[in-house]
């Protein structure tokens, strides 16, 4: 397993270089925006990666909350299956907004189900929580990049840094805020059950996102705003480079998550050892005679 990391790291570095080359040189220049549009090859993949990571965090949080309870776990499983199958049905039966293709919607629905069961199989208990904190942190990093590159792109193209009615950027901002508050909670909470509390916040955040999206969407219909990062179709060559970029950034995200996860594993081990040490006291030091718990506690840094 250990040897896989350098191999993957090298591959990722090469992929990123290749993707950047494609983005800067190979992709055709946009007719309207000139070369500035190439920001899209960093902005959009970062967004997709961030959303994927936050989604994994949500699934891990749900698992963490329901796995201890048999009936809740069963309800969750059935709901997820319903989403998967129902999503496929809905995708082909009802008209989709924004001209989304049915195959995309169906794949998304099935992906939700698949991710839920895969994570459930390979992660449990504490490891679910480690996955949650990992994906939250790395997700916030990528989300920050989205929020930084977005305005940098908007300014030369549309003349404004920010449009409050821009549905995608504003929804992303709210998502970022929710997850930053999630991380602050984890940092400030000293309870033994921080993990449960954080998981509930993640669930609340996930419930909030569609509401955020719809509220801004309606606000925009009442107060027309410029649309940053506009929709519409894309030159297939550009789409091709976009997907290459995304693959490269996904590999990078995976690498960073791996590092973060391993760090978290170690951190918990050290923490456990520290707690044990303070509980058992140091039987090689002078405090053993006095049996002074305060000294032992101070030394373990707790």
């Amino acid at each position: 397993m250990k040897r896989a990391f350098p191999i993957l790291a090298t591959f990722t570095a090469l992929a990123l270089v290749y993707a950047s080359y494609q983005a800067l040189r190979v992709a055709p220049t946009d007719a309207l925006q000139g070369d500035v549009y190439r920001i899209i090859y960093y902005h959009v993949p970062s967004a997709w990666t961030a959303f994927l990571l936050f989604f994994i965090n949500f699934i891990a949080s749900v698992h963490y909350l329901v796995d201890s309870n048999r009936s809740a776990s069963r309800v969750a499983k059935w709901m997820v299956l319903a989403i998967g199958i129902g999503g496929c049905v809905v995708a082909y039966v009802t008209p989709l907004p924004n001209g989304m293709r049915p195959s995309v919607a169906a794949t998304t629905a099935l992906a939700i189900t698949a991710v839920y069961f895969v994570i459930g199989k390979y992660f449990s208990g504490d490891r679910l929580d480690m996955l949650a904190v990992t994906t939250a942190e790395v997700g916030v990093v990528f989300c920050t990049i989205v929020l930084v590159t977005g305005p940098i792109w908007a300014r030369p193209v549309w003349g404004i840094w920010w449009a409050p009615g821009d549905i995608r950027l504003t929804s992303t901002l709210v998502l970022w805020l929710i997850y930053v508050s999630y991380l602050v909670l984890r940092r400030f909470s000293n309870s033994a059950q921080t993990q449960v509390l954080a998981a509930t916040v993640a669930v609340f955040g996930a419930l909030d996102v569609p509401l955020v999206y719809f509220s801004i969407w309606f606000f925009r219909t009442q107060h027309p705003q410029p649309v940053i990062g506009g929709g519409g179709s894309m030159d297939p060559r550009m789409l091709h480079v976009l997907l290459i970029s995304w693959m490269a950034f996904l590999c990078f995200a995976f690498l960073v998550c791996w590092l973060r996860y391993r760090f978290e594993t170690m951190r918990r081990e050290v923490e456990e050892a520290q707690v044990l040490e303070s509980l058992l006291g140091d039987d090689r030091g002078p405090s053993a005679e006095t049996g002074n718990p305060k000294v032992a506690l101070n030394r373990s840094g707790l």
Partner: protein, 241 residues
């Protein structure tokens, strides 16, 4: 509210006449009585909300043409901040008297406790609103150009949206450092759709330019979703630690 049987262990089983509703009502009455007895907290909160209105009227010129457009936002932002101060207080008293531990070992369902707390907060914040709104109307010379009665569902649904999540996050924040700061940190991002709904709906009614229907429906959806989530997850939060 239908009768429930409690599985809290043989020695602790309650008589079947104790329903979830009765527990909620009892806890709520207790809270109101306590709050009423210590009128200090109540009075200082009311004075605080008055101060907020005054500060806003100095900061955002009430005579300007635009005041009707921004008044909706001003009122709700002021209420939001006053509500956070109020919410921070309500759990603090429980903590001081170790009431939480008593709740945890009692066979009463945590939902009942949550509803009681949330309803108590709702009454408290509504009281603050009842004070602040007339003041805003006076300072800003507000008059609704649209159907004014629609402001009532917006106020009710909006207040409940803030209070239900606020009570839940206040309970989460109890076990954190800087707990007074933690509550708004958690509450504000999640409340954004609700705040947008309240503000946009109020503005729509005050200016009479748009219909507030969508916003009322949005607030209703928000309330349903999050009330369910809070009731479902409160037990986990209470049991934490």
């Amino acid at each position: 509210m239908h009768k429930q049987s409690f599985t809290g262990g043989d020695a602790m089983s309650l008589p079947s006449s104790t329903t979830r509703g009765a527990i909620t009502r009892a806890t709520l009455t207790k809270d109101i009585r306590l709050e009423w007895r210590s009128k200090d907290a109540l009075n200082s909160m009311l004075f605080f909300s008055l101060l907020v209105v005054v500060i806003f009227s100095f900061s955002f010129d009430p005579l300007a043409e635009e005041s009707r457009r921004i008044a909706g936002g001003l009122v709700w932002v002021a209420i939001l901040f006053a509500a956070v101060v109020a919410l921070n207080q309500t759990w603090a008293r429980e903590l001081r008297n170790q009431v939480l531990d008593a709740y945890r070992v009692s066979p009463a369902p945590p939902n009942a406790l949550f509803m009681a707390k949330a309803l108590g907060n709702f009454l408290f914040v509504s009281l603050l609103e009842a004070l602040m709104t007339p003041l805003f109307i006076i300072f800003y010379n507000l008059r609704a150009l649209g159907p004014a009665w629609q402001l009532i569902p917006i106020a009710l649904l909006g207040t409940w949206a803030l209070v239900v999540n606020g009570t839940f996050f206040a309970a989460i924040s109890l076990r954190t450092r800087s707990r007074e700061l933690m509550l708004p940190l958690l509450l504000f991002p999640i409340s954004i759709p609700a705040v947008l709904g309240m503000v946009a709906g109020t503005t729509a009614i005050l200016t009479g330019e748009n219909s507030a229907h969508f916003w009322i429906v949005l607030l209703l959806t928000y309330d349903l979703v999050f009330t369910t989530a809070c009731l479902a997850l409160f037990e986990k939060v209470l049991d934490a630690e």
